[in-house]
């Protein structure tokens, strides 16, 4: 059944293209129903499958002469991310209820993107995973270039090229691994058991890891992220930060680290005090955390604040992966979920609730509008989302960041200090944005700028979307076991055996 999350999204996209151009409402409802159906399937599978082990879905020969199978399967990690995709897909549509121009095309690209994302998370065959991974690029480009805002064509092209360069690196690694293993199979499980030579893994690991990590916003390859997020329409930024960046992190874990665990091992000598690729990427992740947070602290554009905060939060995920201990890795997967929800929520507040009404994202210009009084719901949502993003207890972000911090403390005691610094700056930028945008004590308060048109109130779809996202974060924040029960057994499954025996600590 879970495979239908993919098919139903693609079918929905095709149906939307066949709709007459004028039926805007029908397009919205059709898109929402499709996303809801995908979400329902994801949730059912999530609730039914409580052990986290590999759940086979489909396995048929596809290109038999090359040993390529159409093989879908889901373990606990996939299920968590599929559920995240379902939630973000539904809320993304709720937050783009106001798209009026070429509506059916917008939602068709949107569903195409969603279907491919489901496909990546469910693929158990490397070739298939890569196919879905590349399908994501094109709808992403058109969503941003057509319906975006600030410098949209630049942002969209930059994003597309970064993604494609990343996937080119991945492709080189995949073909090399396929050939090195005898050109017989592209099954992830089979390739993970093949013993690639340590020399080969040392070369292939950084190539594939960086290829995926470009999409996960690894510093210094993150520069597509702020411009892309800012240019994108609300739903696309939600998807971009919510699930597409997770594709990169998922690829790092599921492909790069699983196939080439020895690539994480120590080099024969130290370079600049770094002894392995693991050290290198951990350091880059921490630089990303601190850098992203610091840059977010000085932005004038509200959306850039959120864009850079994404870079910072994605740094946590990559750091969690590099801790190579169970708590750190579980925390990383949990953070993928948490950041997906929270980034979605933050982009929804900034892009849909504020920008679509005020037509400005300049913090200085938003201040005098007294948004806390004009749009109290937006202000309240941002306060909650900001608190969750800072990592306050009770939200998913707290559990995830705590686990990563503990994992990092075990692996890199010194670098954990950097993480602490990142968290502190994180509090500061959220606070600053909150105050400047919503609670600015403007001296001209009585004479608030005259609005010829008072800002339209927050609509029902927006409220619904915000409530779903907040609930999804709080639920996991209060009871993280609901996800960890799936994640931990998956990390202990045979697929990760190479990682555990090779370089686990």
């Amino acid at each position: 059944m879970l495979a239908w999350t993919i098919y139903i999204s693609f079918l929905g996209a095709a149906a939307l293209l066949l709709l007459p151009k004028t039926s805007v409402t029908a397009a919205r409802i059709l898109a929402l129903l499709t996303a809801l159906a995908g979400f329902a399937l994801a949730l059912t599978a999530f609730l039914q499958h409580r052990t986290g082990e590999m759940l086979p879905i489909v396995d048929v020969p596809w290109i038999s002469s090359l040993g390529i199978h159409y093989h879908l399967a889901a373990d606990g990690i996939s299920l968590v991310l599929v559920l995240l995709t379902g939630i973000v897909a539904v809320t993304g549509i709720l937050f783009s209820w106001d798209i009026a121009e070429r509506t059916n095309e917008f939602f068709a690209f949107y569903l195409l993107l969603i279907g491919a994302v489901y496909g990546v998370f469910l693929s158990a065959d490397l070739f298939l995973l890569f196919v879905f991974y590349e399908i994501v690029i094109i709808p992403k480009y058109f969503l941003i270039a057509t319906w975006g805002s600030t410098r949209r064509e630049y942002g969209a092209m930059k994003l597309a090229l970064y993604s494609f360069i990343g996937s080119a690196m991945v492709l080189i690694g995949l073909i090399a691994a396929y050939v090195a293993a005898g050109s017989r199979t592209t099954s992830l499980a089979d390739l993970a058991q093949f013993h690639f030579s340590p020399h080969f893994q040392m070369l292939a690991f950084p190539l594939v890891f960086v290829g995926f990590a470009i999409l996960a916003g690894l510093w210094p390859f993150h520069t597509w992220a702020p411009t892309g997020h800012v240019a994108a329409p609300t739903a696309a930024s939600m998807l971009l930060a919510g699930v597409v960046m997770k594709l990169g992190a998922y690829g790092c874990l599921r492909v790069a680290m699983v196939l080439f665990p020895l690539g994480l091992g120590p080099w024969s000598h130290h370079v600049l005090g770094l002894g392995s690729w693991r050290d290198v990427f951990a350091l880059l992740a921490i630089v990303g955390i601190v850098y992203g947070a610091s840059v977010a602290l000085v932005q004038k554009d509200f959306k850039f604040v959120i864009g850079y905060s994404s870079v910072s939060h994605m740094g946590f995920i990559l750091l969690g992966l590099m801790t190579l201990n169970q708590i750190g890795l579980s925390g990383a997967v949990l953070q993928m979920y948490s950041h997906g929800i929270l980034a979605g929520l933050l982009f929804a507040v900034v892009g849909r609730m504020v920008y679509a009404r005020t037509h400005t994202r300049e913090l200085a210009a938003l201040g005098p509008m007294n948004l806390n009084r004009v749009l109290p719901f937006a202000a309240a949502t941002f306060v909650i989302a900001g608190m969750a993003g800072m990592g306050l207890p009770g939200f998913s972000g707290f559990v995830a960041e705590l686990m990563i911090l503990i994992g990092a403390w075990h692996a890199y005691p010194l670098l954990a200090v950097g993480v602490g610094l990142g968290i502190v700056i994180g509090v500061a930028y959220v606070w600053r944005a909150l105050q400047k945008a919503f609670f600015s004590d403007s001296p001209t308060e009585p004479a608030a700028p005259p609005h010829h048109h008072p800002l339209p109130p927050i609509t029902l779809p927006e409220k619904l979307g915000a409530i779903i996202l907040i609930a999804a974060s709080v639920l996991v924040g209060i009871y993280p076991q609901v996800l960890l029960n799936l994640i931990v057994p998956a990390l202990n499954s045979p697929l990760f055996a190479g990682l555990r025996t090779g370089s686990w600590q």
């Binding site: 002469s65 090359l66 879905f132 590349e134 270039a145 092209m157 090399a176």
Partner: protein, 496 residues
């Protein structure tokens, strides 16, 4: 005498094509002279397509196998497969030509198209230098004239003249190389030449022959630095001619290039492993491939005309496909054939879309594609399929073609690291190529249409053709087995 009845047996498909060509010419000149161009094109294209279809049926239903006169004319499953592909491309080109208005000489146009097809069919069915050269010239001379067919357009003349001059020169090089090979081996048969080269060190004669052969055939496949004709011909020639030059003739040229070097020069291969290069044709072609990929992709970025963009992307694709020849294994031949056939389908489709837009908006400037998606959604979707397939985006055929080609190239050598530099370069360059393909699609999908733009009316036949090609490119991408199995089976039973 039995030899001649055998000759008729083996060459029956070619004979059918030539007979059809003469028949079409005669009917057009004798019976339809006073009718309108449209009617004449419809009748001529229908007759010619029937002739090609008859040839296909003959090949599929009663495949005659054998080899005549020491390999001057060969028939085996692999050659049949390539010939069927060539005939299909001819039919598709004829369908594309039906609605054109660029010429009143319908009979001559179709005649030349069919003689070019006959030339290609002989070209792929021989292992003899003499027949190879003659059929190559038959193909080339037909193509020069086809390129010049738009008599009212100065661009068309210029293109044809450039094509002819460069082509004549490269043919001279090729003939010179062949004469050296003949002088060395005392035979024009490829296997005999291979046996003569075998065991002897790479002497200057062979080295010169390798270089001149590379020049002669490098010209046909538009590999850099012998590509100078391509942008002008792609831009100036009438759309059906350009599409034919870009599709069918590429398939034939790549196949014969592979045969010539892999069979005739097998003993002089050498290796292109950096930094331990062994002299032979492999390093020469590897260098040509690298230059083509770099130059084609980088120059394509700057183009403002879609046809010229396709020409430079053709140079880049020639670079990728040369990797299949460089690897010269059975698998890489299969990958090369899959690549060149799907590439030809996508290119032909792109030209079919260009033909309509040019007709309605006056030129193929990318700016004239602005907002096409809102005026011709089907045409735009098809163009997106073709260009994304060329860029190598899954699930379209171009992606699997690239994956399979690069995988076989890496897996071909005993030391997989030998050609890794070429594969890395190819993949890196195909990442660059997405930029210029996306630029075209941006005009089509993102940019709003110009205010005065009128709705686009494309002829129904053209729409069908475009849809058919887009469906083929998508289907072959999702189910590569459809084409891959026949290719592998044919290669298996023909033994390269």
């Amino acid at each position: 005498m039995t030899n001649y009845s055998q000759l008729v047996q083996l060459a029956l498909p070619e004979i059918l094509v030539v007979a059809t060509a003469l028949l079409v010419m005669a009917i057009d000149l004798l019976a339809l002279r006073r009718r309108g161009t449209r009617v004449r094109f419809a009748v001529a294209a229908a007759l010619a397509s029937l002739g090609c279809a008859a040839a296909i049926l003959r090949i599929l239903l009663a495949p005659a196998q054998g080899s005549l006169f020491d390999g001057m004319l060969i028939a085996n499953p692999l050659i049949h497969l390539v010939q069927v592909a060539l005939l299909v491309f001819t039919i598709l080109t004829l369908l594309l030509a039906v609605d054109s208005t660029f010429t009143g000489h319908v009979g001559e146009f179709v005649l030349l198209l069919l003689t070019a097809t006959a030339g290609m069919m002989f070209l792929v069915a021989t292992q003899d230098l003499l027949v190879l050269f003659i059929s190559l010239e038959l193909l080339s001379l037909s193509l020069y004239t086809l390129a010049a067919f738009s008599k009212r357009s100065r661009q068309s003349w210029e293109a044809a003249l450039k094509y002819y001059l460069f082509g004549g020169m490269s043919a001279a090089f090729l003939l010179f190389g062949f004469s050296l090979l003949y002088g060395f081996a005392n035979s024009t048969s490829l296997p005999v030449i291979a046996a003569a080269i075998h065991g002897s060190a790479l002497n200057p004669f062979i080295a010169i022959a390798i270089v001149t052969t590379a020049i002669g055939l490098g010209f046909k496949i538009a590999a850099a630095p012998f590509h100078f004709w391509a942008p002008d011909v792609y831009q100036g020639a009438p759309a059906p001619s350009a599409a034919f030059i870009a599709s069918g003739s590429k398939v034939a040229s790549f196949f014969i290039f592979f045969q010539l070097v892999a069979i005739g020069l097998a003993a002089a291969a050498g290796t292109a492993a950096l930094p331990h290069i062994v002299r032979g044709w492999v390093p020469v072609l590897a260098l040509m491939a690298a230059v083509s990929m770099l130059l084609g992709n980088l120059v394509a970025i700057r183009q403002t005309s879609l046809r010229r963009l396709l020409a430079y992307s053709a140079v880049a694709h020639a670079g990728y496909m040369l990797l299949g020849i460089v690897a010269h294994t059975q698998q890489s031949l299969a990958a090369l054939l899959y690549y060149v056939i799907t590439y030809a389908l996508a290119t032909l489709g792109a030209f079919a879309v260009i033909a309509v837009v040019e007709d309605q908006r006056g030129s193929d400037r990318i700016a004239h594609f602005d907002g096409l998606s809102r005026q011709a959604p089907i045409l735009s979707l098809a163009l997106a399929v073709f260009l994304l397939s060329l860029a190598g985006i899954p699930p379209l055929a171009g992606f699997f073609a690239k994956f399979y080609l690069f995988a076989t190239v890496l897996g071909s050598t005993p030391h997989p690291a030998d050609l890794v530099w070429l594969v890395v370069l190819a993949i890196a360059m195909s990442a660059v190529s997405l930029y210029y393909y996306l630029r075209v699609l941006k005009a089509v999908y993102v940019t709003p249409p110009a205010a005065e733009a009128r709705p686009i009316h494309s002829p129904i036949l053209n729409q069908l053709l475009v849809l058919l090609l887009a469906a083929a490119v998508t289907l072959l991408g999702i189910f590569p087995n459809l084409l891959l199995h026949p290719i592998l089976a044919a290669i298996q039973s023909s033994g390269l």
